[in-house]
Amino acid sequence: MMPTTRATTRRRPTDDAPVIRAALLALAVAIFALLIAAPAAIVLAGALHLGIGHYAHAIADPSTIAAARLTLVVLAYAIPVNVVFGVAAAWSIARFDFPGRAALVVALDLPLAVSPVISGLVFVLLFGARAPLGAWLIAHRTPIVFATPGIVLATVFVTFPFVARELIPAFASLETSVDEAAIVSGATGWQLLTRITLPSVRTAVISGVALAAARAAGEFGAVAVVSGSIAGRTNTLPLHIASLYNAGDSTGAFAVASLLVALALITLAIRWASER
């Protein structure tokens, strides 16, 4: 900002006093350590507390493997739905004006303001054994609630606006003349999207997918309502952690939780790397 060479050594009038600076920095690090770092470290320490053998045993348990498999199935549905919807929403909302555009933007924010438990309740009301549609589906041997379809639906519902929220501002910030040039030169909309638009907002795509994946793998409330927590069948990894913990196996719960801590750290690392 300041052209003089002395500016690097002298304190600028908008800099905080060294004492204030040190105090604020110490306080910030303390808050981070007490609320974020320490609890994560305690999970990892608790997981290994009875030794690596016990840890491996908890991870390799058939019910843990089944829970991990179900979580992967959920991700395999939730992520593509999220991406297709997110790209469509960003394309239409960020680039066109149409009646009801503002209402659509508000509608996208709503799922984030609704309790996950209420999201789960919706599926019980629609597809539960006490609902006409649910009773009919159960009679035809395709139960939704207390089965995999309900878990997938609830997760898609909860994570649904994640990619859209990252992509809308990213699409809106792109230079419009490039699009026009591409279209005038004869590119189709699909070519414009896949060759120009998406590559230029790569960071937002990666960030949105990473957050949606973390949330989908970790969703608890909505899934807890529709799953029934049948061990080995309708437990996702977070539900399995709760089952283990409630059964008094806290070391096992910490061991499975450590997998999800690792997944969260990988998510953050991917975002970090994509932003550089």
């Binding site: 604020l24 790209v87 659509l104 933007v105 309790s115 279209i183 608890f220 409330g221």
Partner: protein, 283 residues
Amino acid sequence: MTPHRRRRRALPGLPLTLSITTTGALLFVVTPLATILATATRLSNGSFAAVALNARALAAYRLTFGTALSASALATLSGLLLAWVITRYRFPGRRLLDALIDLPYALPTAVLGLALTAAYTTTSLLGAPLAALGLHVAFTPAGITLALTTLGIPLVVRALTPVLATRPFDAEEASAVLGATRWQTFIRVTLPTITPALLTGAALTFARGIGEYGSVVFIAGNMPFRTEVAPLLIMTRIEEFDDGAATAIATTLLAVSLTLLLVIARLERHAAIRAGLSPRTRQ
């Protein structure tokens, strides 16, 4: 907003993308809300009040809104501090701190709840010293507030970092050169420009806190009338196959949180206009 957006009708793809978006919004936003409301209207007024406004439910709302409000205030203060340090100071580990701030957002809520409970029970590393001071965290409303604050911090930091990083440098410098103290500059110049972002962070934390289940269920203790939050009460009613009661409580919770969100969105616009900024487009 901008004139060139209206010109861009030449761009293809609106019918397809808009129908996908609208179908998604109808399926995943309108249908669920309509289902809840339709179920709620089938209850008579008397039975609605009996299940949604009885003493246990009122205690749950009080706890839910009270802890969400305290957490919103605490997360706003802590988030401001962390965002300030990350954007304004240069120190070793700054980028790592910046990345790890998002951990509570990326972590499954159940894992966060489990971790905080393990850290703050009366016999654990952080809980024992606090218990010696007479402050019991796990299985009390303080524990719920702690979990909601932790969840809120990344929301506040993410709302603030863009505005703190691209602050009106000139205004702050002018204020300082004209003789204002650092504190006066912060209160009179910096704070008004970041107020809309602060309100956004506070509102997001509050909205998240009202509905939170995964982390709270571990740390709360879940005693009716004392540490039972409204989402947990909904869960309990669902497990008792009492869909009517669950829906009535859910409707009450939805009504309050959506009203508050609208009020806060309005406040945000006013703050933005007063600060001389164009109203921030919601992301």
